[in-house]
């Protein structure tokens, strides 16, 4: 592969998969509010 093609491939992988990794990380840091269905939904104090 030519250097420019390799460079673009690395940039594409880093931005898109990096974006996915960041999005997953963000989700992991905000765990799900388990079972917050309407009837179990306590008004926040």
């Amino acid at each position: 592969m030519t250097p420019i093609a390799i460079t673009m491939m690395i940039i594409a992988i880093l931005t898109v998969w990096g974006g996915l990794a960041l999005a997953l990380l963000n989700l992991q840091r905000h765990p799900e509010d388990e079972g917050a269905l309407p009837e179990e939904h306590a008004p926040e104090l």
């Binding site: 592969m1 030519t2 420019i4 093609a5 390799i6 673009m8 491939m9 940039i11 594409a12 992988i13 931005t15 898109v16 998969w17 974006g19 996915l20 960041l22 999005a23 997953l24 963000n26 989700l27 840091r29 905000h30 799900e32 509010d33 079972g35 917050a36 269905l37 309407p38 009837e39 939904h41 008004p43 926040e44």
Partner: protein, 526 residues
């Protein structure tokens, strides 16, 4: 889920809305929907044809400025108004209801032909062992396999080798649909999506080891920076993002209506959007590595063999399967991926219709999903596995994309943003429960960038389709199944809006939704 118990018995307490049992399952299902045939057979060619490596820039810009904002719009509508597309838009504002029906009808058309491509892929998974196509993949596909008629038309010359696999696909899909959100859709996605990823990664690895793979990747990634100055390249990026993310035709509205109340919508949406793009990049690498091999074997340049869609899947890939070492394995991985990617998208398209029928008629899950899937399946089986089916498929696909999905998305965005001015309300809903807050930026993108991009796309399509008859097919054929079908969807959407909602429908009887509204009102008042 025993929702069906409440079906059709007036006076009984209405069934509670189904939910995804976890955020993870919703995300898996939404990715399953977004990752479809287009990711595998469309993206690689679009990127190659529009600047190669340089395409990454318009692609990411389109993703961030239009794709993701539109995805959030769908999430906000579905989640806030907790209904199928027609019900959610009706709850947003009564005049918006036809938008929902339009989206339902678009899904009806898509489901009928999308299943056919999955059926072909299923057959080709088996053919990978026998190499049924011999040394003429193209002649085999159009001639021996599809038995395509000389001229477009509507005929009833059924082709058994397409009819029976299609029947099989419909039976499988009906079972998934009847089983419901948790036992059907969630479960199917949690099995098929990981399987799809594993198979596709193996396919990419195998492709990368083929001689000539590097040449293919050179063709795919070498940037042509001058493309960035070409407006059509930017239009291609926006166009691709719209179709790739499955936004604007009810799917994400429907899926997000099954989410629990306090769910991180934007955080989940980011994962879905980037996972979809991540898969596309992977597909680009795999497809072009394989095309590089095919070019080398033919002693030609990559630009001579490059193709997309049906030509890529059913002509180029069979050729590669015949020539590559361990070709049968490669064929199974490729066509199996198409089947799995297709099924997880097809069920999301069908769910739009099932949910709408459930809401409008107050039917239970089993009844609605059976009636809808059997009806759509019957239409699909009656019209497409015939000698003229390919012409119909091609025409429906082209017109439902341009004057269904794209035009529908444009009208929806303009009505919501400019006429009903609901974006502040929806933005507040998104920000109330989500980790990634977009506020004004989101509104500017949805009200400004998205409609501009859509107007450009729709007018381009209109000009190209009005100036010459599509594909040179007979005028009556394109008039009826292209323009007529697309226009018919709009008329039918209005008709469906005027049919009154059943007394037991969710529009009249939904204590669950009412209690949410009351709570939200109380919270605002506090």
């Amino acid at each position: 889920m025993s929702n069906a118990a409440a079906a059709g018995s007036p006076g009984a307490a209405p069934a509670k809305r189904e939910t995804f049992s976890s955020r993870k399952l919703f995300i898996l299902s939404a990715i399953g929907s977004a990752v479809g045939l287009g990711n595998i057979w469309r993206f690689p060619y679009i990127a190659y044809d529009n600047g190669g490596g340089a395409f990454l820039i318009p692609y990411l810009v389109a993703l961030l400025t239009a794709g993701i904002p539109l995805l959030f719009l769908d999430y906000a509508v579905g989640h806030k108004f907790r209904g199928s597309a027609p019900l959610a838009y009706r709850r947003l504002h009564r005049v918006a209801e036809p938008l929902g029906w339009w989206q339902v009808l678009i899904c009806f058309v898509i489901a009928t032909y999308y299943a056919v491509i999955i059926a072909w892929s299923l057959m080709y998974t088996i053919f990978s062992f026998t190499e049924a196509w011999g040394d003429d993949a193209e002649g085999y596909f159009f001639g021996s396999f599809l038995k395509v008629a000389e001229a477009p038309g509507i005929g009833f010359n059924y082709v058994p080798s397409v009819f029976f696999p299609l029947l099989l696909i419909w039976i499988a899909v009906i079972i998934i649909m009847v089983a419901g959100i948790r036992k059907g859709i969630s479960r199917a996605n949690s099995i098929l999506l990981p399987l799809l990823v594993v198979m596709f990664v193996l396919l990419v690895v195998q492709s990368l080891f083929l001689p000539g793979a590097a040449e293919g990747l050179n063709a795919f990634f070498t940037p042509d920076w001058s493309a960035l100055a070409d407006p059509s390249v930017w239009a291609a990026a926006y166009g691709h993002i719209f179709f790739s993310l499955s936004v604007g035709y009810g799917i994400m509205v429907t899926y997000s209506s099954y989410l629990k109340r306090r769910t991180d919508l934007t955080g989940s949406g980011m994962v879905v959007a980037f996972a979809n793009s991540g898969f596309e990049i992977l597909a680009g690498i795999g497809v072009f590595a394989a095309l590089g091999f095919m070019a080398q074997a033919a002693g030609a340049g990559v630009n001579d063999v490059v193709t997309q869609g049906i030509g890529l899947a059913f002509v180029a890939f069979p050729t590669i399967v015949s020539q590559a070492p361990f070709g049968a394995l490669m064929g199974v991985l490729f066509f199996g991926s198409l089947v799995f990617a297709g099924v997880t998208s097809l069920i999301s398209v069908l769910e739009v219709i099932v949910a709408a029928v459930q809401d409008k008629l107050g039917w239970g899950r089993i009844k609605a999903s059976l009636v809808v899937s059997v009806l759509v399946g019957a239409v699909s089986l009656a019209l497409f596995p015939t000698a003229t089916g390919l012409y119909l498929l091609d025409t429906s696909d082209a017109f439902v994309n341009s004057f269904g999905i794209t035009l529908g998305a444009l009208v929806t965005v303009v009505v919501l943003a400019w006429f009903l001015r609901k974006l502040p309300l929806l933005s507040a809903h998104l920000n109330g429960i989500s980790t990634i807050k977009m506020r004004r930026t989101w509104m500017v993108l949805v009200a400004g960038v998205v409609p501009l991009a859509l107007i450009y796309m729709v007018s381009n399509e209109f000009i190209s389709k009005i100036s010459t008859t599509y594909e040179g097919y007979p005028e009556w054929f394109v008039g009826l199944f292209g323009w007529g079908m697309a226009g018919g969807l709009v008329v039918l959407a209005l008709v469906l809006t005027f049919i009154p909602w059943s007394r037991t429908s969710k529009a009249h009887l939904d204590p669950e939704y009412q209690s949410i509204m009351d709570e939200e009102e109380a919270e605002t008042a506090r």
